[in-house]
């Protein structure tokens, strides 16, 4: 029952936002916060549970078509739900002064998107998953299109077409699966557990897996399909880009973990070298592009392309350590990139520009905000002691066991990360030219938000154990499925070299 | 009898050609009426006196009269004739003319290819048509009346709008 309420709360908040805004000026903001707060309470109540799924809510929706209302909560989705609630609250907080016109509609969209995301993390019925997958997309497009910056139309349509086209591929794959199930067992079913027990012909499995992979790869920006991200991010309002960067990108990775890998274990194993290579390409290409940008927000957007390249590398390394690293990276990237976007938003609020050429020498004017920016740049750099390092190290360690040449190249991404992060610090904070003076440093609210994110980064950097334990159970279960392709992962084939 | 048939067909075709080539609207209209009357005669020859009568009364009578009214109302005068001549230069004949000739050839080929026997041919009196109308086709008659009513309302509405407009203009 808790799961259903988890879904209902944001929907109700979205529904009543205009009404409440009518009664009180900032009513809809408080309504969103209360909805997220209640969700947090529900999550606390749902904490801890054994067995496959901690909580399950199952009902019949369209029995004739084999579509059921099947929600399930386990360690992985529990963690990502916490991330959603936390960063949803953060995005509401930071848009307190930034969003002026049509506040109610803004919060309605925000809550709808959160509801979609919660649905995606809970759904265990493929059809239901697809419904929520679309639900979370539309409000985000509206967020970008209405409250964005100058050429937001272009960015919103590009984002929409990219995601929509790829999710249609996924729909085909889902239908393919359902019909395959019908041909084998006579009954049409979209339920994940039923489809798990399906034996597919290798060729068919490969194509279906590709269908899923493309949809998730677009969402988790994989290099060739990532071009929507920088535009969507630079044009989105701060709250939008926080939501987009921190959570929407994770739905792609979550999809890979929840559906793509377990449903097509052998196909994924065959596909893993290609996916890892694409991940590494993402890391280096993202870093190189981030290095070349003048617009601060675009720079941060490309950094998330680089970080998600690590996640892809981790997921397709197909061993426990790398998967834990990938989930950790999803968390750490969520915090560090969201924080960087908030900082960029604050700078834009003060000087109405995101161009690094005009934003030099901030340290003299805003020491506290610059201190935070430095910390978050170091986090995205992967400084040990902060959350990103643990994730990247685990990913590299896991990927190393699968194919060490790729990992060696991926490790160069660390140098790339150093380049763009320090470039951000140098051009943004240091240097001589200071923009117009007289702007106040962090206000109490901003200080609270940034402080919380910094604390989270330190906490998960020095004590990531709770996250790793939370995720250990589902990942072990995911790996139990017959995974290894014909040959076992190559031990270090060094003999041949020397 | 058959020579009469072919003769009227020829008249009808010539009249139709005149309608199409006509420069003056009224002359073209008269040629059209001639063609209709020729058709009425053909109907009669085919043993469909009821249809022939209707053709003459409703078609040639009512509809053509309506056309005459409209042409008179618009009274374009001689200027229109010159304009027609300008519009009707030889060039514009070629394209559509070729197309219609092609269509005619195709229809002709189709018709000749199919063998339509003339068995069971007999004249159909008006009574039989009446029985058919109020027998199986009763619904059709009702629909036809509905159609006429709709047209009536439409034309009336357009005319009324016209009345207001004239009020404003003049």
């Amino acid at each position: 029952m808790i799961l259903v309420w988890l879904l209902l709360l944001p929907l109700l908040a979205a529904l009543f936002a205009p009404q409440v805004e009518h009664w009180r000026a900032d009513g809809s903001r408080w309504l969103s916060l209360t909805a997220l707060g209640l969700q947090a309470l529900l999550l606390l109540a749902a904490a801890g549970g054994g067995g496959d799924w901690w909580l399950e809510s199952r009902a019949d929706w369209l029995p004739r078509l084999g579509i059921g209302w099947h929600l399930g909560l386990d360690g992985l989705s529990y963690l990502l739900l916490w991330l959603t609630v936390a960063l949803g609250a953060v995005s509401v907080l930071i848009s307190w002064r930034e969003i002026r016109q049509r506040v109610a509609f803004f919060h309605c969209n925000l809550m709808l998107s959160v509801a979609g995301i919660v649905g995606v993390f809970l759904a265990l019925d493929l059809f239901l998953f697809f419904v929520f997958w679309e639900l979370m997309l539309i409000p985000m497009v509206l967020l970008i299109a209405i409250w964005g910056h100058d050429n937001r139309r272009y960015a919103a349509t590009k984002f929409f077409i990219f995601t929509q086209a790829s999710s249609l591929l996924m729909l085909i794959a889902i239908l393919g699966l359902a019909f395959a199930h019908q041909s084998q067992t006579g009954t049409l079913s979209f339920d994940r557990d039923a489809l798990l027990r399906l034996e597919l012909a290798p060729g068919l499995a490969y194509w279906l897996m590709l269908g899923f992979f493309v949809a998730f790869a677009v969402k988790l920006p994989m290099v060739p399909l990532h071009t929507w991200l920088p535009d969507a991010h630079t044009e989105a309002p701060t709250a939008g880009s926080v939501l987009l960067a921190a959570i929407l990108l994770k739905t792609g990775a979550y999809g890979l973990l929840r559906f793509s890998l377990p449903l097509f274990p052998a196909a994924s194993a065959d596909f893993s070298p290609v996916a890892m290579a694409l991940g590494v390409a993402g890391i280096l290409y993202g870093a190189k592009l981030a290095f070349a940008q003048d617009d601060m927000k675009r720079l941060v957007a490309y950094t998330s392309v680089s970080h998600m390249g690590f996640v892809l590398l981790g997921i397709y390394a197909l061993n426990g350590m790398a998967l834990q690293g990938a989930v950790m990276q999803m968390l750490a990237h969520g915090f560090s990139t969201a924080a960087l976007f908030i900082v960029v938003g604050m700078l834009q609020e003060r000087w109405h520009t995101r161009d690094l050429r005009q934003l030099g020498g901030l340290w003299t004017q805003l020491p506290r905000l610059s201190g935070f920016t430095l910390l978050f740049a170091l986090a995205s750099l992967g400084l040990p002691g902060l959350a990103n390092f643990i994730a990247e190290f685990l990913i590299l360690a896991g990927a190393f066991q699968r194919s060490w040449p790729l990992t060696a190249v991926a490790a160069l991404g660390l140098v790339g990360a150093a380049l763009y992060a320090l470039l951000l610090v140098q051009r943004g904070l240091w240097g001589g030219g200071a923009p117009a003076p007289g702007r106040h440093d962090c206000s109490r609210r901003e200080w609270l938000v940034l402080g919380a994110l910094a604390l989270a980064l330190f906490w998960f950097g020095l004590h990531p154990q709770p996250v790793l334990d939370l995720v250990r159970e589902p990942l072990v279960q995911l790996l139990d499925a017959p995974h290894h392709a014909a040959e076992s992962p190559p031990r270090l084939p060094v003999g041949s070299w020397l | 009898m058959t020579t009469l048939f072919y003769l009227t067909m020829l008249i009808a075709l010539l009249a139709a050609l005149q309608v199409v080539r006509g420069l003056n609207a009224v002359h073209a209209l008269l040629h059209l009426i001639v063609a209709l009357l020729a058709l009425a005669l053909l109907f009669f020859l085919l043993g469909a006196p009821f249809a022939a009568a209707l053709e003459v009364i409703v078609y040639a009578g009512a509809i053509m009269v309506l056309m005459v009214f409209v042409i008179m109302m618009l009274n374009q005068g001689d200027a229109a004739v010159e304009q027609e001549r300008a519009w009707l230069d030889g060039a514009s004949w070629r394209g559509p003319g070729l197309l219609c000739a092609l269509l005619l050839l195709e229809l002709g080929y189709l018709l000749l290819a199919s063998d339509t026997g003339s068995a069971g041919w007999r004249p159909v009196a008006a009574a039989e048509v009446g029985r058919a109308l109020y027998g199986p086709y009763l619904l059709l008659v009702e629909l036809a009346s509905m159609l006429l009513l709709a047209a009536l309302v439409g034309a009336w509405h357009l005319a009324r709008a016209l009345k207001n407009r004239r009020g404003e203009e003049s």
């Binding site: - | 067909m9 519009w87 003339s118 159909v124």
Partner: protein
């Protein structure tokens, strides 16, 4: 009557129809277009009656009747529209009406 070859009748109707069609395609004056349209309608009506007569049943003429009502209704509305257009555009040129362009 029986020896009347049907094909000739049909050919006649086809010819009449094509002449009407040419009229519609070529003429730019709306009135002429309507008149040519009438021709085409009559050509089809003739075929119906010919068919009815040929098979000796009344359906041909019933269909003729329908075409008649149709023509009447159509011409009424068409002429009202033509008058309207004339009022508005001061000319009967069909090409003047290109507001619905690309």
């Amino acid at each position: 009557m029986t020896e009347l070859p049907v094909e000739h009748g049909l050919l006649f109707a086809a010819a009449l129809f094509c002449i009407g069609l040419v009229g519609v395609l070529i003429r730019r004056n709306l009135i002429f277009i309507l008149m040519s349209l009438e021709l085409m309608l009559n050509a089809t009506a003739f075929v119906f009656v010919l068919g009815g007569a040929l098979h000796g049943n009344a359906d041909g003429q019933v269909m003729f009747l329908m075409i008649l009502t149709l023509a009447a209704a159509e011409i009424a509305v068409a002429l009202a529209l033509v008058v309207h257009l004339y009022r508005r555009y001061r000319s009967l040129d069909a090409d003047r009406l290109e507001a619905m362009k690309g």
